[in-house]
Every structure is written in C-alpha cells, then in structure tokens.
C-alpha cells in the first residue's frame, strides 16, 4: 500500500472518533434532560456544568478531526 492511501485510510479511521464523541455529547445532554425532567426546579442551576461536560466530551471528538486533518494535509 502506498503512503497516500495509508494516510487517507488513517484519516477515515480517525472519523470513527468523531462518531464516538457524538455518542458522548448525546449522553451528556440526554442525561441532563432525563434528570431535568425529574426535578425541573434544579435544572437551571446546573446549566454551567452541562456545558462543561459538553465541552469536555466534544473536545475529544474534535481531536479526532485534528488527527484526520494532520494526516491529510500535514503528514508527509
């Protein structure tokens, strides 16, 4: 296999990480909604934590995007 093909396959494999991060982000918002519906009064106070969890989960998905971009455009 030549190097270009290997790079493109690697970039495609990195996209799996984006999909898994999507599960993580969905989990964050899903769990928040689930508990917010049980106790709507306490929900508004937890929005900051919701977005911290979202940011942490999302960052790891974005890192896989960075890996793909590095493989396509930077790696020789």
């Amino acid at each position: 296999m030549d190097a270009t093909a290997a790079k493109l396959i690697g970039a495609g494999l990195a996209a799996i990480g984006a999909g898994i991060a999507a599960i993580g982000v969905g989990n964050v918002f899903g769990s928040f909604l689930e508990s917010a519906l049980r106790n709507p009064g306490a929900a508004d106070g937890q929005q900051g934590r919701l977005f911290i969890g979202f940011a942490a989960a999302e960052l790891l998905g974005l890192l896989s995007f960075v890996v793909a971009m590095i493989l396509i455009f930077v790696a020789k």
Binding site: G48, F51, I52, F54, A55, E58, L59, V66
Partner: protein, 262 residues
C-alpha cells in the same frame, strides 16, 4: 469530465492573503502585512463597538437595542457571579470582551456575504488567533494566582483530601491537566469553527458537481445536500454561540481556581 472541473477546495477559504503592505512591512524579519484575517478582526471590533455604542444611552426605560446590550452584559455578569463569586466582578470587562469578540467573529464569518461577492473570513478558525486568546486567559490566571496566593498557588495541584500515599502521583496529573488548559481552550474553538466551515464547503461541492452532471443527479443528490446545508447553517449559528459561551465559561472556571484555589 465536466463535473471534475467543478471541484471545490474546502480548505481554500482559510487561506490568509495579504491585502496590502506585503513589500517592506517587516518587524524583526516577520512580515506584518495587513491580511484578510486582520481585516475581519478589525470589522468584528468595529461592529462590536457600534453594537455597544448603540446600547449605552443609559435610558431609564431601555429600548430594544439597549435591552439587547444589557442582556449580554447581564449574562456575563451572572456567569461570573455563579462561577467565581463576588471576587469575579472585576473580571467582567475581560470576559465580556472575550465572549463578545468570539461571538461576533464567529457569526460574521457565517454571514452569506458571498452573494454580494465579499468573502467573509472567520478569524476564529485559525489556531494563531484562538491561541493568543487562550494564552491571554491563561496568563491572567497565572498572574492572578501568584499575585493573590504567592507560592501557595501550587496547592492547586494537591486537591483537598488527597491520601498521603498518592502524593507522588496526583500533583503530576493535576499539573498536566493544568498545562493542557490553554491548548484545549484554543483547539476547541478553532476546530469547531473550522469543521463547520469545511462541512458546508464539502456539501456545496456536492450540490455543484451533482447539478453539473444532469437533472437526475441534481434531484437525487443536489437538492437533499442543499436542504442539509440550510440545516447545518442553523446548527453552525448554534455552535457559534455555544463555543463563545464555552470559552467564556471555562476561562471563568480557571479564574475561579486562581481566585479561590480549590
């Protein structure tokens, strides 16, 4: 094939081009030409300035514009009050500028000005720009931390109730997570903005190529892609707001560490 000619290079929109001053504008060997990135940051600043100026009339009964500005300042004020407490009041100007600059830069980069032949440039889709913003936040955290607590600031790396036999490990982990903060802060904003714009460009290349190869493909691929583009644009507006909020929120959390330790 004709369809091959219509290929769109999704990364071209991020290229930085000098607008003027390419020849002899140098400082210590670095070219300081006025680029499209600089132009759009300047536009962001001017738009932000006009937005603020329109809302600072201090009317007793606020109009719509003043209400918009006041809801923004009130939002940042609440953010700091909730996350840092009373000591957070003095950071309101910094966090507010940060939040509004990122928000305006993100949204200006999304404007459909291409219809008029002007190509909007998202300044926040470059690691240099977001990196400088993150370094600013990180230096403020360091300066405030060492100013207020002196060397006691290092107790940040040893959380309360750490068992004695773990004292060799926990500070190392905490130190790494502390040092990674500016990178994660900058990376998140830049990648989130870049990914969205690349996605829109790729979808637009689907629309162009499929429309060029006949009515059948235009119906099967082109129209669904176009509908998806509209939906993704709406998502991008949401992401622009969320990323600006997350940047401000995380900066205020780090400031909380510096002000109050754990």
């Amino acid at each position: 094939m004709a369809a091959e000619q219509g290929n769109v290079d999704p990364m071209h929109q991020f290229s930085i081009e000098p607008l003027f001053g390419t020849d002899h504008w140098q400082i210590a060997g670095h070219n300081i030409a006025f680029t499209n990135s600089a132009l759009w940051m300047a536009i962001t600043t001017v738009v932000l300035w006009l937005f603020m100026l329109g809302g600072m009339k201090r009317a007793l009964v606020p109009g719509r514009w003043q209400m918009a500005v006041e809801s923004m300042t009130g939002f940042v004020d609440n953010l700091l009050a909730a996350n840092v407490g009373p000591a957070g009041k003095k950071y309101v100007p910094y966090i507010f500028s940060l939040f509004m600059f990122i928000l305006f830069a993100n949204i200006l980069g999304l404007l459909p000005l291409g219809l008029l032949g002007i190509h909007p440039f998202t300044a926040t889709s470059h690691f240099t720009v977001t990196g400088v913003l993150a370094i600013m936040s990180f230096s403020i955290v360091l300066i405030v931390g060492f100013w207020r607590h002196g060397l006691h600031f290092f107790s940040l790396f040893v959380p309360h109730g750490t068992p004695v036999w773990l004292l060799w490990l926990i500070p190392v982990i905490e130190l790494i997570s502390f040092l990674v903060r500016p990178f994660s802060l900058a990376l998140r904003l830049f990648v989130a903005m870049m990914a969205g714009h690349v996605l829109l460009e790729v979808l637009s290349s689907f629309v162009i190529s499929s429309t060029n190869s006949g009515v059948l493909w235009a119906g099967v691929v082109g129209i669904p892609s176009f509908v998806l583009m509209v939906a993704i644009c709406a998502l991008e507006i949401l992401v622009a707001g969320i990323q600006a909020y997350v940047f401000a929120l995380l900066t205020s959390l780090y400031l909380n560490d510096a002000e109050n330790l754990h």
